[in-house]
């Protein structure tokens, strides 16, 4: 009955350990760890691993945690889901959805991921991002394609590209698409989330656009920068008068129920069911009176899960994972002849405090993965433990298989602003 909606969904680049670790401190109702546009192609594998570790190790508090995977068309979605499903995110967001089949494909991937990792079947939700004309036109069917679907989101940048139009300030050109998404969401009783506002320094513009989103009927909005979260939250939070009025109605209604009455009067007005439902919604979105939670958070059960590391065969060649950005660690691994054991070299400005801890983590990961002989150098930029473990795992997996042998350092801001368009 009452829905605790997600007012704000904050996107963070999935290959940045510090952003992945800090995503929850800005007060967004959901955090979305991104594997799509903010992650360069050659870092997809290490980003997936980082996200899997983060899901089990980082405390996201009351925020829901989702992962935006790559689109089905990219061919990377199944690898994405296989890896991150093990970390049991609350939801995955699928970009550029155009058909029900695409949803079903991810549904199946999630189902096998859940069963392989002893996760309750059907407990990972899906939010479909519609950002093409075909996607928008199929919105109603997509919304009903799977029981996992809890919301539709709009992606304006790609939509404009496929329409061959420029985005304007007032957004007239997006109205039909937005209204369609909201209508289809309402008709199928799921949520609708509006696209990101890309100018991160324009606070006034964000406020105007977010108010418009709420007016159109969206339940929340995606955020591309942490500083956007307070504005979005406040616009999608009913003000005090609204809350007070809703409280009065709900109290009267519940009192009436106690007395066996179905309809009651408040201030001379008859309160019937739609009014009560609306009041519950107001309180739900204000964070009050939470009786049923439509958007699950697995936070409690998730954080108790141990990160399971895959066993690998022999190291085939040298490889590297991670970057030299603050909060990251670059792990370089080279095979050495059998019997020489594990040689671990650590360079870190916080070595006096964490040198031993870093070495122990690297050793534990290598041992659990079955690596017996290797030379490892760790160039640490004060990374947290989960990041060191994830980077070590990524380096080992790169050293035992084909694929990329290192991460590129892109400017996270640059990739963000040009890309993340749910």
């Amino acid at each position: 009955m009452v829905q605790k909606t997600m007012r704000s969904l904050l996107f963070v680049p999935g290959n940045s350990p510090s952003m992945v670790a800090n995503a929850a401190i800005y007060g967004s109702d959901a955090v979305v760890l991104d594997l799509e546009d903010s992650v360069p192609l050659e870092s997809k594998d290490s980003a997936r691993i980082l996200i899997r570790h983060a899901l089990s190790c980082v405390d996201y508090g009351p925020a829901r945690v989702g992962v935006r995977i790559n689109s089905i068309a990219s061919g990377m979605a199944s690898d994405d889901v296989r890896e991150v499903a093990a970390g049991w995110p609350d939801f995955v967001m699928i970009p550029k959805v155009e058909s029900c089949e695409q949803i079903l494909a991810v549904d199946n991937m999630l189902a096998s991921g859940e069963s392989a990792n002893s996760i309750p079947a059907g407990s990972t939700d899906i939010i479909a991002i519609l950002e093409t004309p075909r996607g928008i036109l199929n919105a109603f069917d997509i919304a009903r394609a799977s029981n996992r679907i809890v919301g539709l989101a709009f992606g304006a940048e790609d939509f404009c590209t496929s329409m061959g139009i420029q985005r304007s300030g007032e957004g007239t050109e997006l109205l039909v698409a937005k209204a369609t998404i909201v209508l289809c969401s309402r008709a199928t009783n799921i949520a609708a989330f509006d696209t990101v506002f890309v100018d991160i320094d324009d606070d006034t513009g964000l406020l105007t656009e977010t108010k418009r989103s709420r007016q159109l009927g969206f339940n929340g909005k995606c955020a591309i920068h942490p500083n956007q979260v307070p504005t979005i939250n406040s616009v999608f939070t009913p003000d005090e008068a609204e809350i007070e009025y809703a409280k009065t109605i709900v109290e009267a209604y519940e009192k009436g129920l106690g007395e066996g009455l179905g309809a009651v009067a408040v201030g001379g007005m008859m309160v019937d069911e739609p009014v009560v439902r609306r009041a519950f919604k107001v309180l739900g979105s204000a964070g009050h009176h939470l009786t049923q939670d439509n958007f699950r958070s697995h936070a409690c059960s998730r954080s108790k899960r141990k990160v399971v590391l895959p066993r690998v065969g022999e190291l085939e060649h040298g490889a590297e994972a991670g970057t030299d950005r603050k909060g990251d660690a670059r792990i370089n691994i080279t095979p050495i002849p059998a019997g020489q054991g594990l040689e671990i070299e650590v360079t870190s400005k916080v070595a006096v405090l964490y040198g031993t801890a870093i070495r122990n983590t690297v050793r534990r990961v290598l041992e659990e993965m079955g690596v017996t002989d290797a030379h490892v150098t760790v160039t640490d930029q004060a990374a947290l433990d989960f990041a060191i473990a994830a980077r070590t795992e990524a380096a080992v997996r790169r050293a035992t298989g084909a694929g990329h042998r290192g991460d590129t350092v892109g400017s996270p801001r640059a990739t963000l602003s040009t890309s993340a368009s749910p």
């Binding site: 405390d59 500083n227 006096v352 405090l353 964490y354 801890a357």
Partner: protein
Amino acid sequence: MTNAVGRDIPDSCVILGETRKLQPYRGPFAREPNVVTRTTFPRFVRPGATKLVGSLREAIEKTDLKSGMTISFHHHFRFGDVVVDTVLRELARLGIRDLTLTVSGFHPVTEILCDCIREGVVTRIHHGGIPRELGNLVARCILKEPVVIRTHGGRARAIGAGELPIDVAFVAAPACDAYGNVNGTDGPSPCGALGYAMVDARHAKRVVVLTNNLVPYPLHRISIPQTHVDYIVATDCIGDPTWIASGAIRQTRNPRDMVIADQIAQVVQHSGFLKPGFSLQVGTGGVSLAATSRISDIMRHGGIQGGFMLGGITSVAVDLLKEGLFHSLLDVQSFDQGAARSLTETKEHVEIDASFYANPHSGGCAVNMVDVAVLSALEVDVDFNVNVLTGFDGVMMAGPGGHSDTAAGSKLAIIGIPLVRDRLPCVVKRIGTVVTPGETVDVVVTEYGVAVNPRRADLLKALEGSSLRLCDIQELARKAEDITGTPEQLRFTDHIVALVEYRDGTIIDVVRKPEA
């Protein structure tokens, strides 16, 4: 012996060449002044005599500056300062050695300074803060005596009480007339208020002014009067005023800082202090400036006109004065050109000296009149004690400035600090060095929650009505360590590299040399 914040303090220490008995810190207001030492010096200037001298060397010779003496400088040019270097170079050339150097705050650490320390020209340092480069050098134990760290108020007190006698004070003067009247606001390189230099000049045995702007007698706006000045040297450059906004001052859009600033503003809003006449002191860090902006939004929204703002003054404060949100600024140091300009243009923008600002043993200092102080920190412990001096590796990298003074004087002292910096937990069981005692700190604000000092039950009650996430400080420390993992304990040798003097002259902590 153990002091009131649980730190082990030696009984005595050699300071300025003599063994002094150290008094352990006993509480923020436990020590009253008991010394009566004459700290202003008689001078004799005949009619017709000139104070202008041809060169710095001549001025130094005239002051009778000799090896073993104490020289002082002010830090109003911050990282644009050149006078410390100029004077040290000349002193080294003259073969003068074994000097005690006291600078009121941060200044550039140059090769010249480092050489002077390595070669024994400077053998003692009594500073307000130690930048990391200097901290690294000092940690190698190459000074004759431990560094003495003092707060702005504590330094003014020590100078006035004769505990830090200055033989020669050097003053970089943006404007000076031929008889030695000085201000910091006129001429081509204004640094604004001269609050720290004013105290040094008042109590030093001899005062040498270096100026690039000699003006006709008399100068109109006088910060340091002719009665304190002995010699004047005309020079090309006294410092680069574009650098006065360097060092501590940061404007921010950093999202974590914004989260912290937002909560600080909410603490202030619900504290009960935000009412007409409300007075505010803020630091110059990103969090403080962002918090100022949020607090002023609330004042505007609620139609609240504040009283004064105190401390280092930025153009952010000047704008609030002009807008009418505050009616006065008390300025001990101007932090940018906008503030320096405003000091001459606005009568409500008042220059004060360091003693007026924060000296606990004066007839009343301005920090006592502050309602709310927003301060930063490197670390806070579970007793609310604050470290603003040593880094994670035990090496000095910052300094108290007015931190302890303002915390002690204000009615509500708020520390804004990230719970974790990179992998360093900032709310911890035990901090490296205690600089500001927890007894004077009321609230710690982090991005994960707000901890109120249990001494302030009134405040806790007031904040319960807000939407702030209130938590026990122990919980914050646990949370920090959950995120970072438990760091190893640093190990220290017995060698003391610095004494940390509380503002009243007692010793609140010492800095020991870390084990290699």
